[in-house]
Symmetry: C2
Subunit: 577 residues, 2 copies
């Protein structure tokens, strides 16, 4: 191109600046202008909760780059306080309003990049506009919340929503000394995860003194005479195992508070996209091709406002995350300047720290795998991150594979240590189309300071592979329930020690410790469907092998053992089933 | 098979017991006998250094399983104190000596599994048999060392060899309060790693008060009147930057000590393999097929005594590690009982903690990649594991890819935190044949508590890909040296701030800060080969882009920046070049 390319970017948090910087790397000549209606650019939205808690002392460290930095380093013209209010795709112009002066002007572009991001969803509740009710999306929000807490001497907080931001905020405000109540409409925190993993997060929250109300809906926010929020009215529904103070059976209750943070989700900022007439995908975000092109010529969309697609299924997917925003920004910046980068899809890999627990996931959950038409094989693998003699602590990995092809589809993990590593390894394996059987072969770094000789990833692969091949069939707690409820006679064998059995056991199980199983197998009926179990699954699998070797035709091991079964039972009673 | 299969396993540390346990899972009927000449079985050899330091309080926790446990759980007959002294592969019998009674008997087998492991190499030095001179291979060794330290009130130790065991022992004895000297023949610790990574380990050791003598050879061990080691004579050679007390230029010196631990490597225990007439591979370990079969019918070899092969090159490889031993044992146990598991090769992935530094590697080093016939592209990537605002600390990742295919070949990493995760992700990627360009696309778990928005793995892939494609050519410090030494005129441009430049700079470089580079590019000659640099590489790459955009034909960025260059310079002077 002989004429100088002009790129206009709208929005400058993660994707917009990534696109601009990459475009500059691709073309030293291009004119690059970024319009941002806010004052802060290129900030770390994910770091905001840590400013609330004081782990991040000043807000400045979360906004390390300003317009001058971009001008100097990249020769990029970033104009904050400028809102793009209109677009004419035929004339290739945008209408821009200078928020300081109130003046409006027109700018032209060769290529337009929409990086308009998302806004927090705020349900239209009575009182939601009161002082002391916040969302947490940008540095101004964080500053306002912290000032509110400090100026008002706030001691209680209600967080509405138990997703990433809600939980990080709950943690940080608790560590700051506030009494925190979290209100979540779904049956458990982390609604994108399966219930039998997220329940561990619920436990962690409660053990740290957070009052977690699930299946609970905020109906209104009450205000004081000074116009500030003073209480939240909560319709409690069936409230599973909530903390003290929650009147059981109450249809509605009042939670007094000094502030409310609404963190129930975000939605794409589509005004400009609509003005440009670009197609919006089925997820509700802007549909784009793998380079970031929208349906309108010379209009691109990147970051949280753009739709992505699932790496496994290829279906449209929208999971707004900083990691993906950075990627799609860079990809479009490359494509804008002649490069050939293309987005390869997402696994929705994500992680959040909730007190001492890392909570992470990648790929499909059991529920989504089934919804996508797979026949999911599931394992619950409970393993320490390191040997106990060097302080190893247990994590749970729930992994899902496709029974037909053996392909690994997804994993969720929770635990105090080493969870991020296992999820990233599994995400990498899934990306390359790994089958469950491939995991055992991975040559991972072993030293007792970092891992066990066989890593939790290896064990997960071995268990999945055994279940798929039928050599070590697994049955989940819910499936066992379902089969028994359906009238099937299942012989359930507890192969643990008498001591373990005394603590808790699966309903209607017989007790034959593993060491006696070879000798006492004839007490069982080899023709009956049989389920073996232990505490976590390993000894149950050994028992399963013994019985299979003794000619039992149908022996499954209880996935995740009694430990997982008892959690299932608790969840079942909470649901009133 | 109608007759009962009889499997005899010789050796019971990691691979032998893995093979036996997996064989039992595969066949409930087989008779499985394990002979072990030692008293301890199935112990964690990798945990032994932590017993020396007291982090592991009792030796029992490293030997959690005994013969009774295997009998009860698996119906496996483990006979400790029994040495297999001969084998007749025609008759399928072994000769066994009961070490307690001195009696010898013959046992027959259908399948024989050699899991005889390795023994420490002990160089034939004068005084090496003295009291107070140890190797560290099994729990008895660890117990003997700890008793020696406690009984003698030992305050000084000399470790011979700076590999995994040597360094872990050095760390643990230092933490116990001993003054430790490490003597290493090679130019740096961790001899399997490249010098420009291992030098960071050398620094860590020295900063913790360990006296590290490199290019140094122990010539003799001197003893006291009571027959105990009292000093080590060291031929110092050219001694790069060693600690105080090492007379510079001394050909030989004496290091007084209260004990000596010899950790210069291990060699396979081949007596039985030789008796069986099985083929030994070029690595010196027993040659096996991917299931573990040796060249002799019905004789298998697993664990450290068996040769493996390189996953990337397919060449025979022998890297004795607990992780691989467990794998090959399990694989043979499966194959022995009708399974189809096959070993897929190793990357030599390994990790060691040295005080606050994790030191890890996977795949080919730069040196080995070149030796294997690849044209290696190398990056030195210095990145924090997390954002600085949450306490992120820098790690170095040195990664190697093949210029022709783009395939990732290997990585080495050192840093205080998050190194194990990145190496495991890279090992997984290499296993699936990842190209450098694939790394950027990985959907890894981001939260500021665990990673940066673009992970160090992403940056590594981006830098490698840029270097391979030529969009962001890299030059290493040594290559720059080589070119200049060869008389080539290279224009070296320092794009850092004046403050950074004042501290140290690359020889004969001109200084134009990045912010001024666009305006001042005409001070440089666009026809000359040009190298840009900054502190670590990122800003240098930005400068490189500016100059390329200005029409400079040949611009490379200095890999790892001035930080890596200055280390190179120090190494160069230490080598007297």
């Amino acid at each position: 191109m002989t004429e100088r390319l002009k790129i206009v970017v709208v929005g400058s948090v993660a994707a917009g600046t990534s696109a601009a910087a990459k475009a500059r790397r691709g073309s030293e000549d291009a004119e690059i202008v970024v319009y941002e209606r806010d004052t802060d650019i290129s900030y770390s939205g994910c770091g905001l909760p840590y400013y609330l808690g004081g782990r991040v002392e000043t807000i400045d460290v979360l906004t390390p780059r300003d317009a001058a930095w971009f001008a100097k380093r990249y020769g990029i013209d970033v104009r904050t306080g400028h809102e793009v209010t209109g677009v004419d795709t035929a004339a290739r112009t945008v209408t821009v309003r200078d928020l300081a002066s109130g003046e409006t002007f027109t700018d032209d572009y060769d290529e337009l990049v929409l990086a308009t991001g998302v806004s927090p969803v705020v349900p239209p509740l009575p009182g939601v506009d009161a002082d002391g009710v916040f969302t947490l999306r940008n540095p101004s929000d964080a500053t306002a919340i912290r000032e509110w807490i400090e100026n008002r001497g706030a001691r209680r907080a209600v967080i509405v929503g138990a997703g990433y931001i809600g939980l990080e905020t709950a943690e940080q405000l608790t560590e700051r000394g506030l009494d925190v109540t979290v209100v979540e409409m779904e049956a458990h925190s982390m609604p994108r995860m399966d219930a039998d993993v997220a329940d561990r997060v619920d436990d962690e929250l409660r053990s740290r003194g957070v009052e977690l109300l699930t299946r609970a809906r905020v109906t209104s926010i009450e205000t004081s005479d000074d116009g500030a929020a003073r209480a939240v009215r909560v319709e409690a529904g069936a409230e599973p195992g909530s903390g003290p103070g929650s009147g059981s059976g109450d249809a509605e209750r009042t939670v007094e508070t000094d502030l409310v943070v609404v963190a129930v989700g975000v939605r794409p900022n589509l005004d400009l996209a609509r003005a440009a007439g670009v197609r919006v995908g089925e997820s509700g975000a802007i549909a784009v091709d793998p380079a970031g092109r929208t349906s309108a010529d010379h209009v691109w969309a990147v970051g949280d406002v753009a739709e992505s697609f699932d790496l496994i299924t290829g279906d449209p997917a929208w999971v707004p995350l900083g990691s993906t925003a950075n990627k799609t920004g860079r990809i479009a910046g490359d494509a804008l300047t002649g490069g050939d980068l293309e987005h390869r899809g997402i696994l929705g890999t994500s992680i959040v720290r909730v007190f001492d627990l890392a909570v992470a996931q990648t790929g499909l959950t059991e529920d989504r795998a089934r919804a996508a038409g797979f026949d999911p094989v599931v394992v619950h693998n409970i393993k320490p991150d390191r040997p106990a003699y060097l302080g190893g602590q247990e994590m749970l990995i729930k992994a899902v594979a496709d029974r037909r092809t053996g392909r690994l589809l997804g994993a969720q993990a929770v635990g105090p240590s080493g969870v991020d590593k296992r999820i990233d390894v599994l995400a990498t394996a899934i990306t390359f189309g790994a089958k469950a059987e491939d995991l055992f072969h991975l040559d991972l770094a072993y030293a007792p300071t970092y891992a066990t000789t066989k890593d939790p990833v290896h064990y997960t692969g071995m268990a999945l592979d055994g279940a798929i091949s039928g050599r070590a069939a697994l049955v989940s707690a819910s499936e066992l329930d379902r089969r028994r409820d359906g009238g099937e006679q299942v012989q359930v064998v507890d192969v643990r020690s008498a001591k373990d059995r005394a603590k808790s056991a699966v309903d209607d199980s017989v007790h034959i410790p593993l060491a006696e199983l070879r000798a006492r197998a004839d007490e069982l009926d080899p023709a009956l469907p049989t389920v073996t179990y232990c505490n976590k699954g390993v000894t149950g699998n050994a028992g399963q092998n013994v019985l299979r070797g003794r000619g039992f035709a149908d022996v499954a091991n209880l996935s995740g053992g009694n430990k997982t079964y008892q959690r299932h039972v608790r969840g079942r009673s909470a649901e009133g089933r």
